[in-house]
């Protein structure tokens, strides 16, 4: 009996060691590219081109960042990306929460299935299929290279996901609360703003975080619809690939500058993130 339990304990210990080894290997593979980017961004040009690669034995330099920050329009592009991201997030939440409320609370209404199909199309269809005609239309409407147009297009592309996510959160609110307020004569709008919004705030935050991430990372829309004046960070980062100088240092600096807000953001709002990323499936 005692022997068996000893064997068992042994086995459990081995299992634990195996599990931790697997997780550590996974952590290594997920973190290494990030470490490598940051380390390349603070290396002098000679240190990037040596083999064997220098992991820690180099003198750090800020030169790549200086080069990046001195780029024409860098700060404007950075600020522009933040502005577009925030505006898109706000629009998605305001417009999307209204739609999510109806989808969650009303089983059948006119245009419901049409809306659902449209949302799936946006989710499943390669963006280029929509952006290409939009680009051609833009000449008529003066949409090309306008920040406000980008915001509307970003919102259009991201709102189906935001609605879907928020519908899950509205679904979780028990209807009894609304029924009581209704008896007191509250209108739908009052119900929505005074009763439901406070209740689903965590869900809205999770959705907002997710939409903000998608907008910050968006590439296809601005690569086609943004010119010089409304350029965003992903476009700036991608421009390092087209010039064939193979200057990896500034490129790594640009990548770091694009990734850093996300990494900081991630650590700060960990809890909301998991809820949002898993589509409301994980509840904290």
């Amino acid at each position: 009996m005692a022997k068996i339990s000893k064997e068992c304990a042994m086995k459990i210990k081995l299992d634990k060691v195996a599990s931790y080894s697997i997780l550590l290997v996974a952590v290594f593979f997920s973190m290494f590219p990030i470490f490598w980017t940051i380390s390349t961004s603070i290396k002098a040009r000679v240190d990037t081109f040596t083999l064997p690669p220098k992991f820690f034995n180099f003198t750090p330099t800020w030169k790549n960042y200086q080069l990046l920050f001195e780029l024409d329009g860098f700060w404007r592009i950075y600020a522009n990306t933040i502005f577009i991201t925030l505006a898109t997030t706000a629009l998605c939440l305001i417009i999307g929460s209204l739609a999510a409320y109806s989808l969650a609370r009303t089983e059948k209404f006119r245009g419901r299935s049409a809306l659902e199909i449209l949302m799936i199309i946006v989710r499943a269809l390669p963006g280029i299929v929509i952006i290409l005609p939009l680009y051609n239309l833009s000449t008529y409407f003066g949409l090309y290279d306008r920040a406000w147009a980008l915001i509307l297009i970003y919102t259009g592309f991201n709102i189906p996901f935001a609605i879907w996510l928020m519908t899950n959160f509205f679904d979780q609110v028990p209807t009894e609360i609304e029924d009581a307020a209704r008896v007191d004569g509250a209108s739908n709008m009052q119900l929505f703003t005074k009763v439901l919004i406070p209740l689903v705030t965590p869900g809205l935050v999770a959705t907002g975080v997710f939409v903000a991430l998608l907008s910050w990372n968006e590439f296809l829309i601005p690569v086609i619809m943004a010119g010089e004046s409304s350029k965003t960070m992903p476009i700036l980062v991608s421009s390092f690939i087209s010039n064939r100088t193979l200057d990896w240092g500034p490129m790594a600096a640009a990548a770091t500058v694009a990734l850093l807000p996300i990494i900081i953001f991630t650590i700060a709002i960990q809890k909301w993130l998991v809820v949002g990323l898993s589509g409301g499936a994980v509840k904290e």
Binding site: V27, S30, Y101, S102, I128, V129, A255
Partner: protein
């Protein structure tokens, strides 16, 4: 007892009026472009020619459907999708099951492991392009340590496809993992206890109990991943831009090239309509699989 009688006005549930702003937005940003795309596909718009715009019927479709690239890029899309799914889903499940054992620090591991999925795909593409570099890339250096000559990763079709899948997996496996972790959390532990009492080993438990129970989640995941592979653009654009030649060009990227490299807008629009039809089954399957989870 409280009366459940309501006045007609306040009992009206939120409906069409609440979705109106969304409808207006989607009409201009999605519906109108889609319809205009269909219209455009019947014209002869080419941004590099001064020929007057005219209606040419189904010519663009005929050209698109007779071009070998339409088929080869479709096949590339499917290949990427299949290789990607075969790698990402099992790996994601494996990590999720490992995480799910309630080890000390599993929350920390989860937090760290999901970071890649949040990062800007364009920046990720650049990082990996640097790491896949033939001469100074760290991947070839690591391979040289184990005696391999290394590859010109992005210079040949097969290795480039593998590289693309590796980069996509780096961002997608955490997503699969996260959703599977969520699914695993819903399985009552009593089921496992019963199985252990009956003397089932780890593999039996996984294949007989865990796997069947997370099938609905896996279906949804597969659907999401299929859609993502159809949409794959950013990392592909940065890593290979569809090259060498058109060897790693997907149908979506081919549409982009037709429109914005060759400036054949109408033909690209026709390709767009074709893609719309190809993805049609996905819409129905998605509605079905999403319902099965709820």
């Amino acid at each position: 007892m409280r009366s459940t009688k309501r006045t007609p006005k306040s009992s009206a549930k939120p409906t069409t009026s609440f979705t109106a702003p969304t409808w207006i937005l989607l009409s201009f940003t999605i519906l109108l472009p889609l319809l205009y795309g269909v219209y455009l596909s019947f014209l002869n718009v080419n941004l590099s020619s001064f020929a007057p715009t005219k209606f040419i019927g189904l010519d663009n479709y005929r050209l698109a459907l007779s071009a070998p690239e339409t088929y080869s890029t479709f096949i590339t899309t499917i290949q990427l999708m299949v290789i990607g799914l075969v790698i990402q889903i099992p790996l994601g499940i494996f990590l999720a099951v490992t995480l799910h054992q309630n080890l000390k620090g599993s929350r920390f591991f989860r937090s760290v492991l999901i970071v890649p999925m949040l990062l800007t795909p364009v920046a990720v593409g650049l990082i990996f392009r640097f790491m896949f570099d033939t001469d100074i890339g760290i991947i070839n250096w690591a391979l040289s340590l184990i005696g391999s000559d290394g590859y010109n990763w992005l210079g040949a079709r097969t290795s480039a496809l593998i590289a693309i899948v590796i980069v996509d997996s780096w961002q997608s496996v955490p997503f699969v993992m996260l959703l599977v972790v969520a699914a695993l959390a819903t399985i009552p532990t009593s089921i496992y206890e019963a199985a252990l009492v009956d003397g089932a080993n780890k593999f039996q438990v996984f294949f007989r109990i865990t796997l069947p129970l997370i099938v609905p989640t896996l279906l949804v995941l597969t659907m999401i991943k299929i859609m993502d592979f159809l949409k794959l653009f950013d990392t592909l654009f940065i890593l290979t831009r569809g090259g060498p030649g058109n060897d790693t060009t997907t149908l979506g990227l081919w549409t982009y090239k037709t429109g914005f490299v060759f400036l054949e807008m109408s033909r690209a629009a026709a390709l767009g309509v074709i893609i719309l039809f190809i993805t049609m089954p996905v819409y129905f399957l998605w509605r079905k699989s999403a319902k099965s989870v709820r």
